[in-house]
Each structure stands twice: as structure tokens, then as C-alpha cells.
């Protein structure tokens, strides 16, 4: 809660402080519905023109297990879910003990006095407020509800503490629980008001958010998987196929539910291989289709992916990355699939890889991926990750009338068709899909065998060389259109942090914080990972150090997967890695500490950072 301005509190009443942002961490068990509280807070922030970002951990177990949900709400720019919490709501002893460390010194710990025994040694560092949440929730809504209303009761407590907009929250609660049994909404509202009106006396001050700058227009609030799914629909995708795997499953569930409204289908297949095969089949048949998975499933899809490269059939493949290898950490985040997205599959199989930077970007990247796939007839990866998939953000509502597109195939008769024509300057040949009459009477076979221009199999050495070059050339044509990313901060200085995917926010926040302290540091975010944008070396040359910040291993040589690619391309020894593999998102302070360490271990003066 930066920039706290404390107002005088007359007559011993709880004081009111004005704040411009707050980090609230709710710790409990996964079945307590704490994600729902977080969701309400995030959506409220979105409707109040505030910025918001959430962070959650979920146990990989089927039901139960410790879980947290962290919400950072701000009237200004919110780039990460926050390193330290201002308020911790702890529902159990384990929640209290595990997460007190994430609370900043002097922060408030609101705990369920029915389940938590506070530790005397922590009392001086943190402001403890115990409330028998379980008992009071049951009292409020009646004995039969068991633990059910606890989360909403706690939401009421938080609403009082942060003087949140009650009518808006009531509306959100009614929307969330509405449509079912009338009494459910009623009970929820009763629990909420019981929490809201709980009298903490002088124990707890009240915080009030300052007004944001006001963005105008509507904001929408959703998580990355939702944004990705809806983005695919906006892009005109009407067919997909997949197999359930965490954390990709939400995307497939959404598409299964939504696509029929548009006359489309999402098919749950018997396995990952069938999924990509079916999606490529549908793509071949006309509209770009989608498949997706997480690490283990992506491995299984590699062969069919190579076919799409060879046959030049478009496809969108979503990879919601999780910790690997193998089954790995199903509910944790990692950026360790860049290599498989970029190189996975045998032979020389160039493809496109894009990584969205935030939830909003998931929506637009989906459209971008579809359009690149259909323009260049190539598979396009969208590399999302567990963190971006599950985190909730508010962003300006897209102009759907403008962005929604129709990608139906054109089946008008053509005079002749050479599917793998080598004479086009950029290697791109617009497709003619099945169902199209070809006047010459010569029809194409889409094939995974090396082929001549007409699609006939051939092993002729020169033809293979020419076709390999053609498939490369197409993507070089794409590369020529990829914008050079803009540097965040001055274009010259001591340190440049390079990142990709979901780490954009924390990296920018790290840069902003270090710069505010006088350090010479900037950052660069790379969205187009294959092919890479041109002229990155010009940017690198403005800095003494280029540190690539990634959530993957530093490998044998001290740098991660993107750093490896940048090194291979630029042979620049200044490019080094800042890596971690703890399955959690980067904290701003972790990035800054790592930069400091890298600089000092380098033997150079570490004075600037």
C-alpha cells in the first residue's frame, strides 16, 4: 500500500487511510472458494476502472490441499501480482504459518480465530486481527451451510476493510450465484453483509482507494485461458480438437461450450495425437483449426506438427506451459517449452512461435496466430503458461464488431493449381481446399513426403533442397514484417533485461523500481519468438549487459532457452541468463537481486544496480 496518507481519526474511531494500491493474499484450502473471493475482487476492480492482477496456486491433487489467491488492485499501473502482501487473510493454521512470510512487515493478518492460534513472536511484526470467521458465517446463514459461506463472509470483511463499493459487489454476487436456487443468492448476500458489518472496533483501520485516472470505456475482467479461447473465436476459428490436460483444459472446455453457438465444434479426442491430427484435418478442409495442450501433450503432437509444416497446412497450437519434463509440476509455471515449440519435431521444420505478454495479449495473440497461419500456411504456436492462464486481469473491452473475422474458405473454381509452386518470390502459395473444382483436372495431394511442385513424391536431391528452402523462405518473408520491439526505458545504459511471455509485467516493474532508485537499466520484451525480429543486435549494442530473464533452467552453459537462441543468432557474449525453476512467477525483488548478483559475479563494478 504505497503512498499511504493517514487521515486523522477523530474520537478514537478506526482511522481511514487513502491508498493507491493494495496486495491482498487469501490463504486457505482449495475447496474453500477462495478463488471466488479473488474473482469478485478482481471483477470489482475492473468495473471500478482500476487495474488488477491476480496470482494463484492450486494443489495438483483432485480435491483439497492448501491454496492461495493473491489480488493486487491499484489505481495506477499494475504490472505484477505483487511481491509482498499488505493484508493476509488466513483461514487455517497452515495458511497462517506458511504465508506470514509473504506479508510485509507491519502488514495486517486477518485470521479465522476458529482455526488459527496466533504465535506471540509474530505479534510485534504484524498487526493481528482474529475473527471467528467459521462460527460467524454459520451463525449468519444458518447451521446447514457448514463451511460454504465462509468465503463470502470473508469477502464482506475485506470489503469493509477497503471500503469497497457494496452495491457493485452485491451485483457481482447476484450475477455469480443467480440463475440457480433463489436462496443461494440470498444466503450469499446474508453472509456478505454479516462480514461487512462485523465490528472490529479500533482493531482495524479502513483503507480507501484513491480515484484512478479513469480510462473511459468498459473494462472486461478475465483470465488468460478465457482471453485465449475468446480470441480464437473472434479470429474465426470454428473447429478444434484436444485432450484434457492441466492447465490447457480450460481453453478446450470453453471452446467446447461456445463454438456450437457459431456452428462450430470442439472435439474431445482419444489422445493428443488424434487431437492434432483431427485439427490438421479440419484446417486442411478449410478454416484454420486449433489444437492445444501442455508439455506432455505437445511432445506427443510433434510428428503431426511436422506434417503440417511439410504439407503447408495452417494450424494453431496452444501450449499452456507447466513445469516439466514429463508429468513434472502440473499446476506450476515454467517457460521451458520454448525449445520444443521452436524445434520440436524431426527434420528441418520451421514454424511460428508467439508468446502473449499478459491476459489482454492472449486475446489479440490468438487472432494474430490465426492470421499468420492462414497467410503463410504454417503451424503457429501460442506459448502461454500456467501463470497467465490462471491470472485475472482487467483490460479495455475489445471492439468485437471490428476484430471478429470470418475465415471461411473460398471454394470458387480455379483454372489450375500448383500446390508447392517454387516460382513465387516469398514461397507462399495460397491454398485451394477440398471441395474446390480445378478446371485443369489436375488435383493436389497434401503430403508429408517430400514432393515436387505438383505434390508428387520425389526424392530428387535438388528438389528436396529447393523445398526446404521454400519452407524457410516463407517465414523469412514473415520475419521481414515482424516489428522490432521497443525498449522499455532508455535505449542505452548498463543493463538490458530481455524477457518473453508472462514475465513482461514483473520485468517492467523491476526496471521501473530500479530506475527510480537511480539505476541504469531497461527492458525488452520479445513476443515473436520464431522467427525472431531483426535488428535486435542494434538494441543490445546500447547496453553493457544483456540478461535474459526466464523461468527455465540455466542449462550447461549458464543461459536459458531464449538466451540460447539469441546467442546462437548474435554470438554476443554479453547475453547471459537470469533463470529460475521454482514453479512460481518472478517476484520483482528476485529479478533485482539476480541482476545484482550477476553484475557482481561478473567482476565488473556493480555500482549501477
Amino acid at each position: 500500500m504505497s503512498d499511504t496518507m493517514t487521515a486523522a481519526s477523530p474520537g478514537g474511531a478506526p482511522k481511514v487511510s487513502r491508498i493507491n494500491e493494495a496486495v491482498i493474499r487469501i490463504a486457505g484450502n482449495s475447496q474453500d472458494g477462495i478463488q471466488a473471493i479473488g474473482g469478485f475482487l478482481a471483477r470489482l476492480a475492473g468495473r471500478s476502472e482500476q487495474e488488477v492482477m491476480t496470482f494463484m496456486t492450486i494443489p495438483p491433487t483432485i480435491s483439497g490441499g492448501p491454496s492461495i489467491f493473491q489480488v493486487r488492485i491499484g489505481s495506477g499501473e499494475v504490472l505484477s501480482a505483487g511481491d509482498e502482501a499488505d493484508v493476509l487473510l488466513a483461514l487455517y493454521q497452515h495458511s497462517y504459518e506458511e504465508h506470514i512470510g509473504s506479508l510485509k512487515k507491519g502488514g495486517i493478518v486477518l485470521f479465522d480465530a476458529d482455526h488459527v492460534e496466533p504465535k506471540p513472536e509474530w505479534q510485534k511484526d504484524y498487526h493481528h486481527v482474529g475473527i471467528p470467521i467459521s462460527t460467524l458465517a454459520v451463525e449468519a446463514i444458518g447451521g446447514t451451510a457448514k463451511d460454504k459461506g465462509k468465503n463470502i463472509y470473508a469477502l464482506g470483511l475485506i470489503a469493509r476493510t477497503f471500503d469497497l463499493n457494496v452495491p457493485k459487489l452485491e451485483k457481482l454476487i447476484a450475477e455469480r450465484f443467480g440463475g440457480r436456487d433463489e436462496s443461494i443468492v440470498k444466503n450469499a448476500l446474508v453472509a456478505f453483509h454479516a462480514g461487512y458489518s462485523y465490528d472490529t472496533g479500533n482493531l482495524l483501520e479502513t483503507f480507501k482507494f484513491t480515484e484512478g485516472p479513469g480510462k473511459g470505456g468498459h473494462q472486461v475482467v478475465m483470465n488468460g485461458n478465457e482471453a485465449l479461447g475468446y480470441g480464437l473465436i473472434a479470429a474465426g476459428v470454428r473447429f478444434g480438437a484436444g485432450y484434457p490436460i492441466t492447465p490447457w483444459t480450460d481453453v478446450m472446455e470453453l471452446l467446447r461450450r461456445e463454438l456450437p453457438k457459431y456452428g462450430g465444434s470442439f472435439i474431445q479426442c482419444e489422445d493428443e495425437i488424434a487431437s492434432i491430427s483431427m485439427a490438421v484435418g479440419a484446417s486442411y478442409a478449410g478454416r484454420v483449426a486449433v489444437t492445444g495442450s501442455s508439455g506432455p501433450g505437445i511432445s506427443l503432437k510433434s510428428e503431426a506438427l511436422g506434417w503440417a509444416v511439410m504439407a503447408e497446412v495452417p494450424l494453431v497450437i496452444v501450449d499452456v506451459q507447466r513445469g516439466g519434463p514429463s508429468t513434472g509440476l502440473p499446476t506450476s509455471v515454467e517457460q521451458s517449452d520454448l525449445n520444443i515449440a521452436r524445434f520440436g519435431s524431426h527434420g528441418d521444420s520451421p514454424r511460428v512461435v508467439l508468446a502473449p505478454a499478459n491476459v489482454e495479449d492472449c486475446f489479440y495473440t490468438a487472432i494474430e496466430a490465426v492470421n499468420i497461419a492462414r497467410k503463410y500456411n504454417v503451424p503457429v504456436f501460442i506459448l502461454s503458461d500456467q501463470a497467465i492462464a490462471t491470472r485475472i486481469e482487467a483490460f479495455p473491452e475489445p471492439n468485437l464488431e471490428k476484430v471478429c473475422q470470418d475465415i471461411s474458405p473460398d471454394l470458387t473454381m480455379v483454372p489450375d493449381f500448383t500446390p508447392y509452386d517454387l516460382s513465387t518470390p516469398d514461397g507462399v502459395v495460397p491454398r485451394v481446399v477440398p471441395g474446390t473444382r480445378i478446371a485443369s483436372g489436375k488435383y493436389p495431394v497434401a503430403t508429408g513426403l517430400e514432393h515436387d511442385e505438383a505434390g508428387h513424391p520425389t526424392g530428387a536431391p535438388k528438389m528436396h533442397q529447393a523445398m526446404v528452402a521454400k519452407r524457410r523462405k516463407k517465414l523469412l518473408a514473415l520475419q521481414a514484417t515482424v516489428p522490432v520491439p521497443k525498449v522499455h526505458g532508455p535505449p542505452e545504459g548498463n543493463v538490458l533485461l530481455v524477457g518473453w511471455g508472462s514475465t513482461q509485467g514483473p520485468i517492467r516493474e523491476a526496471v521501473d523500481r530500479a530506475r527510480a532508485a537511480g539505476d541504469s537499466i531497461s527492458s525488452l520484451h520479445i513476443k515473436y519468438l520464431s522467427p525472431l525480429p531483426n535488428r535486435l543486435d542494434n538494441i543490445f549494442s546500447g547496453f553493457h549487459h544483456v540478461f535474459v530473464v526466464e523461468m527455465n533452467d540455466e542449462g550447461f552453459y549458464g543461459y536459458g532457452q531464449l538466451a540460447g537462441m539469441l546467442r546462437a543468432r548474435y554470438c554476443d557474449p554479453r547475453i547471459r541468463g537470469i533463470n529460475k525453476t521454482d514453479g512460481l512467477t518472478w517476484k520483482v525483488k528476485e529479478i533485482l537481486a539476480a541482476v545484482k548478483l550477476k553484475l557482481s559475479s561478473n567482476g565488473r563494478a556493480a555500482k549501477t544496480v
Partner: protein, 313 residues
């Protein structure tokens, strides 16, 4: 909006539907349908299946806009190259899911899938079961030669016990698959068996499979003269064998009876073993879509999406 490098065109309503075939057009002829000369060995049973496929297309008066031929990997899977029509040569064992992707997204196209025993029952075994159970509308013709031919004589999932191959020099030890039993057990709605040495029968079975509304499966014995010569002589009257048709009183809707016929010792019975009508995957998905589309009737696609976004404000 985030950085993008391609323009999003404004939406244009173009429904996916094949242009209606010219009323004056005749069905395709064998001459129009024949493409590259097959690379199969002289005497291969697959020649017969190809010739009868041409005949089937000709007879059914299908135009080039109305069908696709799909195959996986193997000798018989070279099939699409020899047909002058939209075709696909996909990867090993995955022709069925690929074909399902076409079938489920393009109701205007009839999808024919061709393959061999390795493609269908070994590497593609999982897809065989699931495509059958889902009753995806397509026609699947498996040219079963009981051996891996393209890789030059290894044991196949239908090789009989004792068959000497390069991977079983002492004779095959694994119990072979019975494709018909497998198909019936998986829930296939049309299961037929034929042999390439009886052309009229092959055509009749392919035609019945094509006209079946659902997963139409034809197991066609097709001799590999190079690596398993004489494998099917016992089913060929010209080689002193016996071509036994499914008994006239066989009830093809009776699963138990079909299973029993399928289990008869070689050369067994030829004909339609099993044939029932069940709603296809295609029809079920279309029904879901009709229901869902009714709820958003009159709305443009972007307006349907807008309704979701309104709830996320």
C-alpha cells in the same frame, strides 16, 4: 490493443458450402480419375481396389467437389497419389482422426480413407476403436495383406502365428488381431469383409459402406505377392480355395451373430457382417449446434461473443 502485424479484416459472411454441381455434368470417368501410375508391385491386390474405387466414384456420379481420399502410411496408403482428386497422404496410423476432422467440419464432402493392416490395427489401433465408437461418417477401406510390405516383410498385427518374417525369423509368436471382431466390439456400425480377388464383391462392399450413414468399415484381403504370396489362396476359388458369402439368413443387425461369423476360421465369411443405424457423431454435433444456435438466433457472430463479454464487465 497489443502489437499485431496482420490486419484483421472486417467480417464477411461467406458460408462454407460447395457450389452446386452443374446440372449438366456427368460423373467422372476412370480416365479423369486416374493419376500417377501406381508404384505397387505387379500382381499386388491393391490394384484391384483402386480400379474398383474409380468404378465406385464413376457409378455414384460424384464430382471432384464432393469427395476426398485420405490415407496414412504403408503400401496401400499410397492410394491418394493414384487418384486424380483432392487427396491427403498423412502420417502413419493417424488417417482416421485426420479424416474425422474433414468429415466433422465439411458435411458437403464424402471422406474415403484407405490404409493397410499396420496403419489401421497397429500404430492406428487406438484411433480405429475410437472413430468406430464415435460413429464418424466416413468410409474406411483397409487393404489387409497380413504383412508389412513397405518396410519389406516384418510381422503385422494380422500375421498368423508361425508366419516367418524378418522380425520373427522363427515364425510369428504374437496372436493376431481379428479386425472384424475388433470393429464390432468397438461399436462400428458397418462391418464388411471382402477380398481383392473378387472385384464385384469389393465394389458391392465399398458401395454399401459409402451409402452407410456412419462409420463404414471394409476389411479387404489384398495379397502381397512379394512378401506373403499365397496368403489368401484358401479364399480364392481360382487357387482352389473357397469364397464363402455371409449366409443369406444372417441378421446383420444381430451383434452376437456378427461376432460369431467374424470368429469363423479362415477363410471365414465375406459380406456385410454387421450393419446398424445409430446417429452419427456428425449428426449429434449438428444437433447440439442447432440447439445452441437457436438461442442466439439472428445475432451476428460478434454479437454472440459480445454477450459473453458483457458478462465479464
Amino acid at each position: 490493443m497489443s502489437e499485431t502485424i496482420t490486419e484483421s479484416p472486417l467480417r464477411v459472411d461467406v458460408p462454407v458450402a460447395a457450389p452446386p454441381p452443374d446440372s449438366g455434368r456427368k460423373g467422372l470417368t476412370k480416365k479423369e480419375l486416374a493419376a500417377d501410375h501406381p508404384t505397387w508391385c505387379p500382381g499386388c491386390g491393391d490394384f484391384s481396389v483402386l480400379a474398383l474405387y474409380f468404378k465406385l466414384i464413376e457409378k455414384s456420379k460424384l464430382t471432384h467437389e464432393q469427395f476426398v481420399s485420405v490415407a496414412g502410411i504403408g503400401c496401400s496408403s499410397r492410394f491418394p497419389y493414384f487418384v486424380q482428386a483432392h487427396g491427403v497422404h498423412f502420417i502413419h496410423g493417424r488417417a482416421l482422426p485426420f479424416a474425422s476432422g474433414i468429415s466433422l467440419s465439411r458435411p458437403d464432402l464424402h471422406v474415403f480413407v484407405f490404409g493397410g493392416d499396420g496403419d489401421a490395427y497397429s500404430i492406428g489401433g487406438n484411433h480405429f476403436s475410437h472413430t468406430a465408437r464415435k460413429n464418424v461418417k466416413l468410409t474406411y477401406v483397409v487393404m489387409d495383406n497380413w504383412v508389412y510390405g513397405l518396410t519389406k516383410k516384418q510381422t503385422s498385427p494380422t500375421s498368423p502365428l508361425g508366419f516367418k518374417s524378418k522380425t520373427d525369423p522363427w515364425g510369428a509368436v504374437d496372436y493376431p488381431i481379428n479386425p472384424m471382431k475388433q470393429a464390432i466390439a468397438a461399436g462400428a456400425t458397418f462391418v464388411a469383409r471382402t477380398t481383392s480377388t473378387n472385384p464385384n464383391h469389393v465394389l458391392a462392399m465399398m458401395e454399401a459402406a459409402m451409402n452407410h450413414d456412419g462409420f463404414g468399415f471394409v476389411e479387404c484381403l489384398s495379397e502381397c505377392v512379394e512378401f506373403y504370396e499365397g496368403a489368401f489362396d484358401a479364399a480364392n476359388p481360382r487357387k482352389g480355395g473357397m469364397f464363402k458369402e455371409v449366409p443369406k439368413d444372417h441378421d446383420a443387425t444381430d451383434e452376437q451373430a456378427a461376432y460369431q461369423l467374424a470368429g469363423t476360421d479362415f477363410p471365414g465369411y465375406f459380406g456385410i457382417l454387421y450393419n446398424i443405424n445409430k446417429p452419427t457423431k456428425n449428426a449429434k454435433e449438428a444437433e447440439i449446434n442447432r440447439g445452441m444456435m437457436e438461442k442466439v438466433k439472428g445475432l451476428k457472430d460478434w454479437q454472440i461473443l459480445q454477450k459473453n463479454f458483457d458478462r465479464m464487465r
